[in-house]
Symmetry: C2
Subunit: 216 residues, 2 copies
């Protein structure tokens, strides 16, 4: 297992961050087709030459955009307290809602569309980045929560990754894909609460110990 924290995080200058912001905005508004070098330069009030100097080429710009966005979405893990059944349920609900909110964010959707579109071309380099910096991070938060639940005797599971996989599937199902395919998001966002509740309830029925469910 490696100890290296982050392989290469170039840490761009403020000016370059502004440019990346503009590029993300452009991508969100118009999709990959709108993300041309000339368009980015115009939107960010910079020159194409600077773009190539800073990011190498177009693929470098895309990678930088993903890294930049991932660096903004910091995943916090605050599971220090001793868990009660109610607290665990609360944390799971919070996690579910956060997950849905993140996946449904327009920037996240745009970047996932971008990476998926390039998956067959670049050997899934962008896809790996999204996986590594996106789901992996939020997965660690869930993993910590699950283990805390097990330590408190509230959850029972053998493999942690299996349990997380189940939780993820219960929460998201095919909602992410449907949003990526362009289905109207507003209709889904209103359902996030109910969806989270249903998922957490099912998850606790599957993995909760007798202590964690308010038995009759």
């Amino acid at each position: 297992m490696q100890l290296a924290a982050h392989p290469h995080q170039p840490d761009y200058s403020p000016r370059q961050n502004d440019v990346l912001d503009s590029a993300l905005r452009l991508l969100v508004d118009g999709g990959e087709k709108a993300l041309t070098t000339a368009g980015v330069a115009r939107a960010a009030n910079c020159s194409k030459e600077s773009l190539y100097k800073w990011f190498g080429d177009r693929d470098g710009l895309l990678s930088a955009m993903i890294g930049f966005q991932a660096s903004k979405v910091r995943t916090f893990d605050d599971t220090a307290e001793t868990l009660t059944a109610a607290a665990l349920q609360e944390h799971l609900m919070l996690f579910a809602r956060d997950l849905l909110e993140v996946l449904g964010g327009d920037v996240s959707l745009a970047l996932n569309r971008l990476a998926i579109g390039q998956a067959s071309r670049d050997g899934s380099k962008l896809g790996s980045m999204l996986q590594e910096r996106g789901r992996r991070q939020i997965g660690k938060r869930a993993g910590a929560l699950l283990e805390a639940g097990r330590d408190a005797g509230l959850l029972v599971f053998g493999d942690r990754d299996d349990a997380y996989d189940t939780l993820y599937g219960l929460i998201v199902s095919d909602l992410h894909l449907r949003m990526l395919l362009g289905e109207d998001r507003d209709r889904m966002v209103k359902d996030f609460g109910r969806r989270a509740q249903k998922a957490v309830s099912a998850f606790l029925r599957l993995y909760g110990s007798e202590k964690s469910s308010a038995g009759p």
Copy 2:
């Protein structure tokens, strides 16, 4: 509710089907970037002019490809027999494996990538087509199976769509997205069996009546 079976299914000529096959092959091999009109014409030994005469424009070609592929994947629903607990579990397992097999197919992945890439541009026209002809069809098969299970007293659920959504999430989780992002598929295919088993087991624990599980 409409009764129209299929809005417009142009039913292309054999020659045109060959062309669509070539186009799908091209798309699978090289992604959307490889799907140029000149490329399709060359691969299919036809002229660009014929392409435009048959399919109107490039978008028409894409739509035709989706419709064509969907017409090839016929979803059968054979739930005539009276269900026992073991038979229900068997059918669920079969459904789960089929679902994973379909979603992981290279043509399906390529078409989903294509539709997702165009989602922000064309108002999700291709996305709707994929949803309608893809998941909706296989969803009807699952729906029939679930209702048969309920009629036999083996399953207990209020809303059928909720139950199906749960089943889908348990089976697929984020596997579909990871495959779309380009993660190595061979490593996943070997896990389909275990995955299906885990999902069906969990689903039966959630929605199965006492009859359906071999209680101690």
